[in-house]
């Protein structure tokens, strides 16, 4: 008992409080592995907290409180996992956490209110959250940072109500409550004076949506540093926009050069892009495995790790490629051994639309409760085009294409072909029979296709399950309400019984 997948009634872990009733017993080997990884997480956190700047930062910034929930974050995202899956989760997410700790440490070191390292500050270029960092791969002497990532993006993932305060601040300023909560919360941090005032200059981008572009504009008014707005074409599938996209990238590079006095280092850039290309190859290998009956790198293991590699690491951090190799080996070995990721895989699903930041662990629940295998998520289905590492002009065009296809914006922008049609192609590629359709209430770009999704899903014979959520605002649609929508479909349309009945209805409204 317990060593096997699905041998524990996981819903029993929830007693209605902030933390679970007790830790999950996964059999001796896996429990020991999980426990040692849990200790490592604490070691990372204690090492982080031991630095005086970080302690000051902890008391200065409200959003830092969310990081008390890091160990719980791991538990949530490894629930029910055994063997290879468990190891992949700790390996990938563990690296993300360490990378995040380094980023926050650097932020506090440079922060005039805390470490006040002016030399470091003069080398920092702030990037907009949701904007990939690859341009900075040409500036080895500069530091790329995004304050919004730790303050908002990952905060909301750690603790479900982690950014509600900033949304309130934003609404009190006058921003309507119907806009996407992500740029709204980011703006809330700025208005609330909880945005570390660091950096020599900033680059902002029209990343995901209209709201995001607008939030940036107001943010720039509050920042005391020069900012450049990178306007990436919206209709990014058109050939006629590529030249302009590359020109804009060059303009951004020129801006950074002018502000920092640094020169774009092509040699370093190419070496980073070679690494980035190798990372893309690994991802393609994982996708390849996911088309078979024994998918391995799936669900949260793929999604959360891939965001870090693709957007933040940008080929500059060797450790990500090393981890990629390890993950690929684990995945290939498990595939060869025909390991299953759930006791009884009943449906092969793609999650489409943007996931709820406060419930990134939903795919884990889908696996455990209903045997739905979340093969891939929309945000991971980004550009797989390799960056040219010899021809400078071509490299700029490739880099521009990469920016046009950043996470989320590659689907929210670009029109019907990218937002809707691509989904059916991926369903075919992954042999998926189901789509978990995240309906983020503030995402106008995807909501505009609602009827077309329904009609097309019927035509393609795909089960389309709508899961409504509020992205960073669980008050709008709680985790439980999200699960209820899946439950309803599974019960009434498919007439199936859950694999783990204890997970069908439980209360986690008070949890982190």
């Amino acid at each position: 008992m317990s060593k096997k997948l699905g041998s524990v009634l996981l819903g029993k872990l929830y007693g209605g409080g902030v933390a679970r009733e007790h830790r999950e017993w996964r059999g001796v080997k896996d429990t020991w592995y999980d426990y040692t990884e849990w200790l490592k997480t604490w070691k990372t956190l204690v090492t982080f907290t031991a630095k005086p700047n970080n302690i000051k930062g902890f008391f200065r910034y409200r959003w830092m409180l969310n990081y008390l929930a890091v160990p719980d974050f791991f538990d949530r995202h490894t629930e029910g996992m055994r063997g290879t899956q468990l190891r992949m989760a700790h390996m990938g997410l563990g690296l993300i956490v360490r990378d995040m700790c380094d980023m926050v440490t650097t932020i506090f070191k440079a922060d005039p209110e805390i470490g006040n390292d002016t030399k470091l500050n003069s080398k920092i270029v702030l990037f907009d959250e949701n904007m990939m960092s690859e341009i900075m791969s040409g500036f080895p002497n500069l530091t790329w940072l995004s304050v919004e990532v730790p303050s908002i993006y990952t905060s909301a993932m750690m603790s479900q109500k982690g950014v509600s305060h900033y949304l309130d601040v934003c609404e009190a300023y006058g921003i309507p409550s119907d806009v996407c909560p992500m740029p709204a919360a980011e703006l809330g941090v700025v208005i609330d004076n909880d945005f570390p005032k660091i950096g020599k200059c900033a680059v902002q981008c029209n990343t995901t949506c209209d709201g995001s572009a607008m939030g940036n504009g107001i943010q720039s008014q509050f920042m005391d540093i020069p900012s450049f707005q990178l306007a990436v074409p919206i209709r990014h599938r058109q050939e006629s926009v590529q030249e302009y996209a590359a020109e804009e990238i060059k303009n951004a590079i020129r801006f950074i050069e002018e502000q920092t006095g640094e020169k774009f280092d092509w040699e370093y850039f190419f070496s980073c892009m070679k690494r980035f290309n190798k990372e893309t190859e690994h991802m393609l290998d994982w996708f390849d495995i996911s088309t078979t009956d024994y998918p391995q790198m799936i669900g949260v293991n793929l999604a959360l790790y891939r965001y870090g590699v693709y957007q933040a690491a940008g080929g500059r951090n060797e450790e990500f490629l090393t981890t990629d190799k390890k993950l690929s080996k684990l995945a290939r070995d498990a595939f060869n051994k025909k390991e299953l990721t759930v006791t009884e895989p009943r449906h092969r699903a793609i999650t489409w639309g943007v996931q709820a930041a406060y419930y990134t662990a939903l795919p884990v629940w889908l696996q455990n409760c209903w045997g739905i295998v979340p093969l891939c998520d929309m945000l991971s289905l980004v550009s797989t085009k390799m960056i040219d590492t010899e021809d400078k002009e071509q490299a700029m065009l490739d880099l521009a294409y990469l920016y046009e296809n950043m996470i989320m914006r590659n689907r929210s922008n670009g029109g019907y072909e990218t937002g809707v049609e691509a989904l059916w192609r991926y369903c075919e590629y992954f042999h998926a029979d189901m789509v978990i359709m995240y309906a983020h209430m503030g995402c106008k770009a995807m909501s505009g296709y609602h009827g077309l999704f329904e009609e097309e899903a019927r035509k393609h014979g795909i089960h389309l399950i709508w899961v409504t959520h509020g992205l960073m605002q669980p008050q709008d649609a709680s985790r439980k309400e999200m699960r209820m929508e899946v439950n309803r479909y599974m019960r009434t349309v498919l007439r199936e019984e859950p694999l783990d009945p204890s997970l069908e209805d439980y209360d986690d409204s008070m949890c982190w």
């Binding site: 006058g174 707005q229 306007a231 006629s240 302009y244 020109e247 019907y416 106008k444 009827g451």
Partner: protein, 403 residues
């Protein structure tokens, strides 16, 4: 004031998207081009043999079907347009030339296209990527986009003349309409204006919704009529406001504001005359398309322009208008669910109030507002607050004089 001779005629035209003048132009064999955004230069849609109609959904009732396709969380204007298309209201169109500007309007057009709601056999939709910044790089992009996604499709599908001369002629005709409207609108500057904001808005809106060449005569007559028109002895308005914000094609909003006591002296919104009816300056040395695009890019006041200079410029522009038209206050309005104006309205409300010192009313609204008691109450309260402020200023000045 005595009623303007053609006002009723123009009001009637605005009751339908496919109105008498649109039908007349179609019967004359002209190509009907649907437009949904100010970022596609109007002269390019009004080349020889073509006329543009900015899509509207007048007398909108239920938008249930539009809501099914686009959910209840999207802008009502986009949903209403889709609903009208589902009802067959845009069957007269030969094409829609749309920018991918705001995602909600883009989705509306995509739904129209994918659901095949416009029935002409040759009907097509073309999307252009329009700039979000105002600089030389963006201008080159704009020109290319207009060439490849607007002029060439028009030429290839309908044989439209897209030569430099044709473009210049289109600008000339566009400017003629703008001149007439500017002359009509200039009377709003008067202390006791001989035209109301609503009356002007009727003429201005018609210029977006009807073939322009069919409006010229009546606008000329109106200009002549206005020269001799006498305002009421007592001005019925208690305040003068600039109306700013997202698209307004339901003139009941302006009527409601004016019934509440505030005259709309300047209209800085989509379908308004600022900057939409400003003259396009042309020189003979540069390419016509380049000049047109440059004008639309530099004069554009849509919050979609995201560079810092443009963000500042938008507030300065409103300030300039308010001064020129002697406005007592500003009304920032936004269609509910509009991301662009949601942010711009909130931010500008702070800046225009705190930095520029204007009283500002900041409201969001549905697409159809005529019966909104809440909006009426808020506008009335705003007018009263302006009056109170004026009174306080007078007392303070009087006090200072006595001292």
């Amino acid at each position: 004031m005595k009623d303007l001779k053609h006002l009723y005629y123009f009001e009637n035209l605005l009751q339908e998207a496919n109105n008498d003048l649109v039908r007349q132009a179609v019967e004359e064999g002209k190509t009907a081009i649907g437009s949904v955004c100010s970022q596609i230069p109007e002269p390019l849609l009004n080349l020889p043999g073509c006329f543009s109609v900015r899509l509207r959904a007048p007398r909108t009732g239920s938008i249930d079907m539009g809501t099914y396709y686009m959910t209840s969380l999207l802008c009502e204007c986009a949903r209403a347009l889709l609903e009208r298309a589902l009802e067959g209201g845009y069957n007269f169109l030969d094409c829609i030339l749309a920018p991918d500007a705001c995602s909600q309007m883009n989705r509306c057009v995509e739904n129209i296209e994918k659901l095949e709601l416009c029935k002409k056999e040759t009907f097509f939709v073309e999307y252009a990527d329009v700039p979000m910044k105002s600089d030389e790089t963006a201008l080159r992009h704009y020109v290319r986009q207009m060439k490849e996604h607007l002029l060439l499709p028009l030429h290839n599908s309908f044989g439209v003349d897209i030569s430099d001369e044709a473009l210049r002629k289109a600008v000339e005709e566009h400017n003629e309409i703008c001149c007439l409207l500017n002359e009509i609108g200039s009377y709003r500057k008067e202390e006791n204006p001989r035209i109301t904001g609503y009356e002007f808005a009727v003429f201005c809106l018609a210029s977006y919704a009807c073939p322009k060449y069919l409006l010229v005569d009546k606008l000329k007559e109106t200009v002549k009529e206005l020269k001799a028109r006498k305002p009421d002895k007592k001005n019925r308005f208690r305040a003068r406001v600039v109306l700013i914000g997202s698209e307004v094609d339901d003139l009941d909003l302006i009527k409601l504001i004016e019934e509440s006591g505030a005259m709309v002296v300047a209209d800085r919104f989509c379908f308004g005359s600022f900057p939409g009816r400003e003259l396009i300056p042309m020189n003979s040395s540069e390419d016509a398309l380049l000049q047109i695009c440059r004008f639309y890019m530099t004069s554009g006041q849509c919050p979609r322009f995201m560079n810092t200079e443009k963000i500042k410029e938008r507030k300065e522009y409103v300030d300039r208008l308010a001064k020129e038209y002697k406005a007592d206050g500003l009304i920032y309005q936004q269609m509910k669910f509009c991301d662009y104006w949601g942010y711009e309205r909130a931010n500008a409300t702070h800046i225009m109030r705190e930095t520029y010192g204007y009283p500002v009313l900041s409201v969001d609204r549905p697409y159809v507002v005529g019966g909104s008691g809440q909006l009426r109450t808020r506008t009335q309260a705003f007018v009263e607050s302006i009056e109170m402020k004026k009174l306080q200023n007078t007392i303070e000045k009087g006090g200072a004089a006595n001292e």
